[in-house]
Subunit: 202 residues, 2 copies
């Protein structure tokens, strides 16, 4: 079209970039862009800087695979943590939920995903080899599987359980106090604490 | 807390910055941050750059108040536009909806808001003085009020209609073909085109 109706390029680029956020379509992206430009330019600047910093500074922890600024994250490096316990979670959000119970002092491994063959997430994409070698460091005595109680999470737990037990490790699963079909991130801390306490061998 | 569970600062800053997007709470912000860092770092970088560029390069058009990189935007500067027609909209999204009908060749004025006293948006915040002086340039013959058909949009249209007519301008309103209570941005182009065609004096 040439009726002078084309939008300025920086606005088009911003809307396109916002659309790549999960769950954001073109209308929402436009609303976000207009809101930031009209009402909260400081927020737009902050977000721009935060994104640049996060991408350049955050890497994966060598031990737990979580996000960190240093080679080994604060949790893994903390001296009072019980290194004989390793809790495997799907995401950092799940780790946060377990930390919020204040009932767990062991360490974590963050899968950053779960088995989902239909989405192309297989054992190689999750890098199960790295999980197994982390759990086989000779210090870990028990692995707590805290993947979600969804079909994919259960499949992931089952797969990991087989592999870990064949290496002689004790493997437990969060008690099924977490309602079936739900995701750990969205469960209240009390329920998560109870499920952690009632964990049972697989 | 000092159990080594604190998150790295760039991640905290990113989640905080994402929360300032409209409609984004802390859980959604976390999901966005994890998604970008784990699965789409290129998108994060793009968005960071796009935000910085948009904030530094986009300003308000001197004539229509829309976003532009230059003093007068491409629409206002276009030679084949009919400068005797001025369509007043609430947002750039509304302008896009009207442009999408390909049935309007006049110019625009973008309020970047609407009267909403409860939210602290009064005539001064909207800068009605600027709207009136834009419409009183001696070239504009007819002002088409295309604010939303919501309570605030109707109030804004009523207020503008009084002020513009007292200056001897012809003032029309989009025909009430747009369903009452809905927002123009979400109406299909055909309905908007019809409402534009059937516009009536106020």
């Amino acid at each position: 079209m040439d009726s002078g109706s084309s939008e300025p390029q920086p606005l088009v680029a911003l809307v396109d970039a916002l659309r790549r956020l999960p769950g954001v379509g073109v209308r929402t992206a436009r609303r976000m862009a207009y809101h930031l430009l009209q009402h909260d330019r400081a927020a737009a600047e902050n977000l721009g800087v935060a994104l640049t910093h996060a991408v350049s500074r955050l890497r994966h922890c060598e031990r737990c695979n979580g996000f960190t600024e240093v080679p080994v994250c604060a949790t893994c490096a903390h001296p009072s943590r019980d290194a004989s316990l390793l809790c495997i979670v799907e995401t950092p959000a799940d780790q946060n939920s377990i930390e919020a119970t204040h009932g767990y002092q062991g360490l974590y491994y963050v899968l950053m995903g779960r088995l989902a063959p239909l989405e192309g997430m297989g054992p190689d994409e999750i890098d199960f080899g790295r999980v197994l070698s982390r759990a086989s460091d000779g210090v870990v005595q028990e692995v707590i599987l805290a993947t979600n109680f969804t079909a994919e999470g259960e499949t992931t737990a089952h797969y990991l359980s087989e592999a870990l037990r064949s290496r002689g490790l004790k493997v437990t699963r969060l008690a099924r106090g977490v309602p079936a079909g739900s995701e750990i991130e969205y469960v209240d801390a009390g329920t998560v604490a109870w499920a952690l306490m009632e964990r049972r061998p697989t």
